[in-house]
């Protein structure tokens, strides 16, 4: 299930999902441990560029990820800016206290969020769920019962949606009047959630029985063969090299062309 529908197949698409997962997790780790504002800004910048180049998504669709980036930037940055700890107060009004430290920390958080999101999208736009699970089973020996449970459940989700639509129609037909207030909201939510979950539980149970009837052994990844092969290739090396190089560029750029020159943004 890949809603981004890539139009260009890049190196990143061809690399092995497990390798990508490991790589992106490493990048995450690096970003989490970055406390330097300039480094984080360059990371955000460089990974956004990587995303544009490597995701293979149609240009207008890229707006779909940039808009949430902007919103998230504003919300996470502003929260820290207005309420963060700090000694050098710039502006104060009521509960809001913007200090120098909190301002830069807020900025840092905003850009960090963008860096995380870009890294995440590098994985999500280039890997389909099925490929990822097959890869996990073959390379990391993930027990098939987990992988196939996920894949089967993803397959069953559209049915739940259809039932939701029918339920909404049925409630209308039966003439259900909404009750006001919080209790009403909870009750109304319950009117949807209980039947949908009841049907889902029953369905999941039946699918599990059907899978068992097909001689599925969920515990041993080794004994089974796989329809979709998961292989390592030179693209894996290329991709690792590329993203590592990008990270290094960001680091070097932060050293030579700092925007703020602040260093560690944490409070102490």
């Amino acid at each position: 299930m890949n809603i981004w529908n890539p139009v260009r197949i890049t190196w990143l698409h061809r690399a092995n999902p497990v390798v990508k997962l490991g790589l992106i997790c490493a990048l995450f780790f690096m970003t989490v441990l970055t406390h330097d504002l300039d480094f984080v800004i360059y990371q955000a910048f460089i990974f956004m560029i990587c995303l544009v180049l490597l995701s293979g998504v149609k240009p207008w669709k890229m707006l779909l990820f940039f808009i949430p980036f902007l919103l998230a930037f504003i919300s996470s940055a502003s929260s820290m800016m207005l309420f963060g700890k700090g000694e050098t107060i710039w502006w104060e009004w009521g509960l809001f206290r913007v200090s120098e430290e909190s301002f830069y920390r807020g900025l840092h958080l905003g850009f960090k969020g963008i860096a995380f999101a870009s890294e995440g999208l590098l994985l999500v736009t280039t890997t389909s769920s099925v490929d990822l699970f097959y890869s996990l089973m073959q390379k990391l020996r993930l027990a098939p019962k987990y992988a196939y449970s996920f894949m089967a459940s993803i397959r069953l989700l559209p049915m739940v949606w259809e039932e939701y639509v029918i339920r909404r129609q049925a409630l209308k037909v039966r003439g259900v009047r909404p009750i006001r207030g919080v209790r009403g909201m909870v009750h109304r939510a319950g009117m949807y959630v209980v039947p949908l979950l009841a049907q889902s539980i029953r369905r999941a149970h039946r699918v599990a029985a059907a899978m068992e009837a097909k001689q599925f052994d969920g515990d041993r990844a080794k004994a089974r063969t796989y329809y979709y092969p998961s292989r390592y290739s030179r693209y894996d090396l290329l991709v690792v090299g590329l993203l590592a190089a990008a990270a290094c560029c960001a680091y070097i750029a932060a050293g030579y062309f700092p925007w703020f020159g602040i260093g560690d943004v944490r409070f102490d």
Binding site: M151, R155, E163, V173, G175, R203, E212, Q215, Y227
Partner: protein, 558 residues
Amino acid sequence: MSKTAARWVSSSTAEAGTEQAVHVEGLRLKYPGEERLMFKDLSFSAARGEKVLLLGPSGCGKSTLLQVLSGMIPRATEVPMKCEAQLVPRSWGYVFQDPDTQFCMPYVDEELAFVLENLSVPRDEMKERMQAVLHEVGLDLQELHMPISHLSQGMKQRLALASALLLEPEVLFLDEPSALLDPEGREQIWSAVKAVSEGRTLIIVEHRIEEMAQYVDRVVLFTPDGAILGDGPPAAIFAEYARELQAYGIWYPGVWEDYAESRAGRELFAPVDAPGDELGSLMLEADSSYAHLGEPVIRLDDFRGLRWEKPVVSLPSAEVYPGDFIAVIGPNGAGKSSLLLSLMGLLRAEGTYVLCGEEVIQGKRRKVRKKRERQLRQIGFVFQNPELQFLTERIGDEVMYSLLVDHMPPDEAKARADRCLERFGLDGMDNRHPYQLSTGQKRRLSVATAMARQPAVLLLDEPTFGQDARNTFAILEMCERLRRAGTAILMVTHEMEIAQRAATHIWEIREGRLTSSLPSPRWCSGTESGRETDGANHADASRDTLAASGYLHTGVNA
């Protein structure tokens, strides 16, 4: 040892040298939470290559027995059981009832590959095996990597059979494979089963046996308690236990004829005269909302139902009179359900729609919408899935809910609800949760909640789908009762017998258009009506239409 689920002396391979394919002796099984044992000391066996049909009323445990015979209970599903001896086949395949929950992968090839992966078949052999087995069941797809959701229900069951065949089974267990299929789908699955059953043992549980009753070698009839009543060749069992077959609601060949001869059936299928006489004489519930004789309760002119701004069903002109029972037939996806949804106001519509003399105006403005909703309250709707309609946690409240919404005084509502439940065979269960009912009871309850309100029009979307004969007739009887009180009924159905015997008119919808609307044989056998008449012999005309559209079900195919 006290915790073992089953104690048996096993010989799980075929080296025993007997001709038996499956065998269980002295079986005792009880579901946790149930009061009584499902099986008490039951013994059953089947020989190699035998085709056995297990028959019995709903809930007698036939599916459970199938799971025990295959070993799924207690291996995959934990249910307390014990037996004295058991022989489980070395290789077996199982086909379940619901086409939608048998598969775990979204694409055909991935699903078949799933089975092959389980068997540790090398990747290069997979494609070949998949194609071979699909060919065997008659599913010739150009592209193997096809979404399963694009297959029809009958094709899905064939796919399920194909994946069972990949296991190279000695025994095939078929658990009501055709229960949730329309006639075309049923034909597909049974022809596929017949094609692949050469040399294999078949153990089949089924309710609708018209298509394959003569194909099996042996029929085993169960009582509601889970004991074996009769065991022998089909002809003998059908002859000796005809009464039980009827009582258990099994769709045996000739069930419609037998019912038509019974007292209830004669009343149900009685020919319908001109509207005037009937309504006057048979007003059972004096409360009928709309009974202006001679005037249509629904009039449609250039009516189109829209989905995403595109018409999915269009009717150039149509009229529905009180006391009409219209069967809406047509191929899958033609737009029959969309028609009902549009009439109910759940889909946007265009064109003229006059209900009970007042026009239903389509529009988005709040006032228009409110007025429309109020008008449409005169129509009752029964969805295909009964559970999705239930609102309360008690059966008693369920029926009353609709009546209270209509602003009926509570005492009157309670009285009417109780009467309704009694008529539907659901009395004495006031406090039970609707979800705890059996499928047939749930279906009756959902129909009851709509009928209790005595709407001017009742719309039903395949209410007899997957039901046994008894429930089907019960629902038809209730519809007839309502019809005689003046309600107009529109029922989407695949059951041609309903269209020919119980309905008064037949509308056919193809590719989103109403292609014909004819009176049914039931209407024609009465006197000439004051309605539009096209020519001399309506009975033949409607049968011709049905035959031409390929729907006339001729009964048993040997």
